[in-house]
């Protein structure tokens, strides 16, 4: 990996490509662009980018298909771009292994923030899986089932811990309701979003400084949740 992080942008709109390339270059990213899905897949294999930005509506391949085929051989972070009405596709792509999403139109600050999170996540993934995850005042010992906040141990129920551990193990990534429910409660509960809502509220009350404005366990409206790695 060179000094500059390498971003592959797959989008069929030349204006978007031009804007992203200009802005990211100014922010010291190395940028490669592709306007078709097949081209993007080839570039991903030959150039080995550090992160991929993928538009879901491509002329040749379905964006979800591109996502699935990438995940067959690489864990490179994928950030998908969608429009407001692409809820289904967004969730589908996240379930197929995409890490994060942005809804068009988006501000460039948002894009940069997502890129930073993705790059940190990919750096982490390259090392061995961590036994202890920390975020702000929170410390989660995945091996010993212990959670502490500002050094004080927090009592969690078994399900609460299982949920928190799953989120923390995937820190930085957007996890869909479906994915969390399947992992924590089992596939027969995959549609019971209400379970998740209730348990997330309980977790936030125990772990967040201000449960009404969560900083660590954030909601991705209509999609799922994210464990934010702070600091």
């Amino acid at each position: 990996m060179s000094q500059q992080p390498h971003v592959l942008v797959i989008d069929d709109e030349p204006q978007i490509l031009r804007a992203i390339r200009t802005i990211l270059a100014a922010k010291h990213f190395r940028v490669t662009t592709a306007s078709r899905g097949e081209e993007g897949l080839t570039l991903a294999a030959t150039q080995m980018p550090d992160v991929i930005i993928l538009d879901l509506s491509l002329p040749d391949l379905d964006g979800i298909e591109v996502c699935t085929r990438l995940r067959e051989w690489t864990q490179v972070p994928i950030i998908i771009l969608t429009v407001r009405d692409g809820e289904r596709d967004k969730v589908l792509a996240l379930d197929r292994g995409a890490d994060d999403y942005l809804t068009k139109p988006f501000g460039i600050e948002e894009l940069l923030a997502r890129l930073r999170v993705a790059l940190r996540h990919s750096a982490q993934a390259k090392g061995s899986p961590k036994a202890v995850v920390t975020s702000g005042p929170l410390e989660i010992d995945l091996a010993n089932f212990r959670v502490s906040r500002n050094g004080v141990e927090v009592k969690l129920t078994a399900t609460e811990f299982k949920l928190l551990a799953h989120l923390a193990a995937n820190a930085g990534r957007v996890l869909t309701h479906h994915a969390i429910l399947t992992a924590v409660w089992g596939s027969e509960y995959a549609e019971h979003v209400e379970y998740l809502r209730v348990y997330m509220r309980q977790l936030r009350k125990k772990l967040e400084d201000d449960p009404d404005h969560p900083q660590i366990l954030t909601t991705e409206l209509g999609i799922g949740y994210r464990f934010v790695l702070e600091g």
Binding site: P105, T159, E194, R197, V198, R204, D212, L221
Partner: protein, 485 residues
């Protein structure tokens, strides 16, 4: 007709009995009566028989009276012989007078009966027309006709078949039971003939079987015409409705097009102007001016984005596709997402959010409810002064409903406009002062109503507020989650 004649014939014994009784009475009072008086008095049972039991009875009574008069009151008594030629003439005269009188009376009687029948028919027809008035669907038209036929022909069985034109579905009504229980062919079947062809048929199985009378046939024909009128009126009303809908939709589209082209262009002009100013080499903008131009671009793009969302929703509403994709959501999450997105474009307005995380879950389409909030907040900001407060609150009304309020400190809305501000293209203020298509609030209304709630606006002591309700139940249930200890 044979039935009517038979009816009259069975009355003949009564006529004969009346003549017999008269004879007995006259025979007993014979000493005080002379022959012409007896002849006169014999006319009484003849007249009464005709009046009560019809012409055949009357004639029978006349003949019987003729013989009884001859037998008991003309010498030689107790024979049918006649002594004097004068008396033969008397007898013949009596018979002629009696029969003529019967006939005249009978004719009057018959025409009276006909008049009564006509009057009854007219009344039935009037009642049918009144009952059919205002009916617009075939099913109730058919049912009304069948009811009326049954009233006019007691004991009969009726079938109404309506098949007005191609494309229309067939409507069948049978009273009092399904047709399978009716044996054989109907005794009478009358077409319902409209201006442009056959609309259906009235079928009657009369109570006594056999074929129908002329009266019944005529009555059913008039019912048929009344039915045809009612059906055609219903069809015209439906066509008129469709035409009106089309015209409204057309008017809507052209209004939408004209305001959209205006509304999309105005933020675009701002963006274009700001960006070209910054691109232009001739002026060296100071950083404050640069910042201002860029903020304008930022705000206007958000504005455009909201506008495009509204247009999409409006198209869906017009096409009837606005079905919420519901799921259990935390209202506070939705509000947070909207307010974070809008905080910058709200400029100097202060946003106060009082929506607790602990409110029950709401089964809503979060994308749509986000749009409702975005529209209400942007509307509140648009009509209230910079620096004033826009406050969002939500509280539980009862087991099944949540109320949400978006309050602003803008001027009061005239009472007559409070109900209409949710109409398409309705604006309270003159449109050159404030931008917007006037679609936002009508979209809010459509979305809230699609969720089963209602939306209304009210003036408050400090300003005005938009209120709406959201359900807490989905298909009658609330989410059940087993709590852990």
């Amino acid at each position: 007709m044979s039935r009517a004649v038979w009816l009259y014939l069975i009355r003949i014994p009564e006529a004969l009995l009346a003549v017999g009784a008269t004879t007995a009475l006259l025979y007993l009072t014979r000493p005080w009566l002379n022959t012409p008086t007896v002849a006169l008095l014999y006319l009484l049972p003849v007249g009464v028989s005709t009046a009560l039991w019809g012409l055949p009875s009357g004639i029978a009574a006349a003949v019987a009276a003729f013989f009884a008069f001859n037998y008991f009151f003309l010498p030689p008594y107790f024979t049918l012989q006649v002594l004097q030629p004068q008396e033969s003439i008397d007898l013949v005269v009596f018979l002629v007078v009696a029969i003529t009188m019967s006939q005249l009376l009978g004719a009057t009687q018959a025409s009276l009966a006909r008049a009564e029948a006509r009057e009854r028919e007219a009344r039935h027809l009037y009642e049918l027309s009144t009952a059919l008035l205002g009916l617009t669907d075939l099913e109730s038209i058919a049912r009304t006709i069948a009811d009326r036929v049954l009233l006019s022909l007691p004991g009969a069985k009726v079938g109404i078949l309506l098949e007005p034109g191609k494309g229309a579905s067939r409507t069948e009504v049978f009273l009092p039971a399904r047709v399978s229980e009716h044996p054989g062919r109907p005794s009478l079947s009358v077409p319902i003939q409209g201006m442009r062809g056959l609309l259906g048929e009235i079928e009657v199985w009369s109570a006594r079987g056999g074929s129908a009378s002329e009266d019944e046939r005529r009555l059913l024909h008039t019912y048929g015409s009344a039915a045809a009128l009612a059906i055609e009126r219903a069809q015209l009303a439906a066509a008129d409705n469709r035409a009106q809908l089309l015209a409204q939709s057309d008017a809507f589209k052209s209004a939408l097009l004209s305001s959209v082209s205006h509304e999309l262009r105005s933020p675009l002009s701002t963006i274009k102007a700001s960006v070209t100013s910054l691109l232009g080499a001739e002026v060296d903008w100071d950083s404050e001016a640069k910042q201002e131009l860029l903020e304008a671009v930022d705000e206007e793009t958000d504005h455009l984005n909201l506008l495009v969302g509204n247009l999409l929703d409006m198209t869906r509403i017009e096409a009837g596709y606005l079905q919420p994709k519901r799921n259990w959501n935390v209202l506070a999450d939705i509000v947070r997402s909207v307010t974070e997105r809008m905080r910058r474009s709200l400029g100097e307005h202060q946003l106060q959010v009082e929506v607790s995380e602990d409110l029950p879950l709401v089964p809503v389409d979060y994308v749509q409810i986000e749009q409702v909030f975005a529209n209400l907040i942007s509307n509140s900001a648009k009509y209230s002064a910079p620096g004033s407060v826009v406050r969002i609150r939500a509280w539980q009304l009862d087991q099944a409903w949540l109320q949400v309020q978006v309050h602003n400190q803008g001027p009061a809305v005239p009472a007559e406009d409070l109900g209409r501000i949710f109409d398409k293209f309705h604006r309270v203020t003159a449109s050159d002062r404030v931008t917007g298509i006037g679609l936002g609030l009508s979209i809010c209304k459509a979305i809230v109503e699609a969720h089963g709630g209602r939306i209304w606006a009210e003036n408050t002591p400090q300003g005005m507020a938009f209120n709406f309700t959201l359900p807490l139940t989905w298909e009658g249930t609330v989410p059940s989650v087993a709590e852990e200890k």
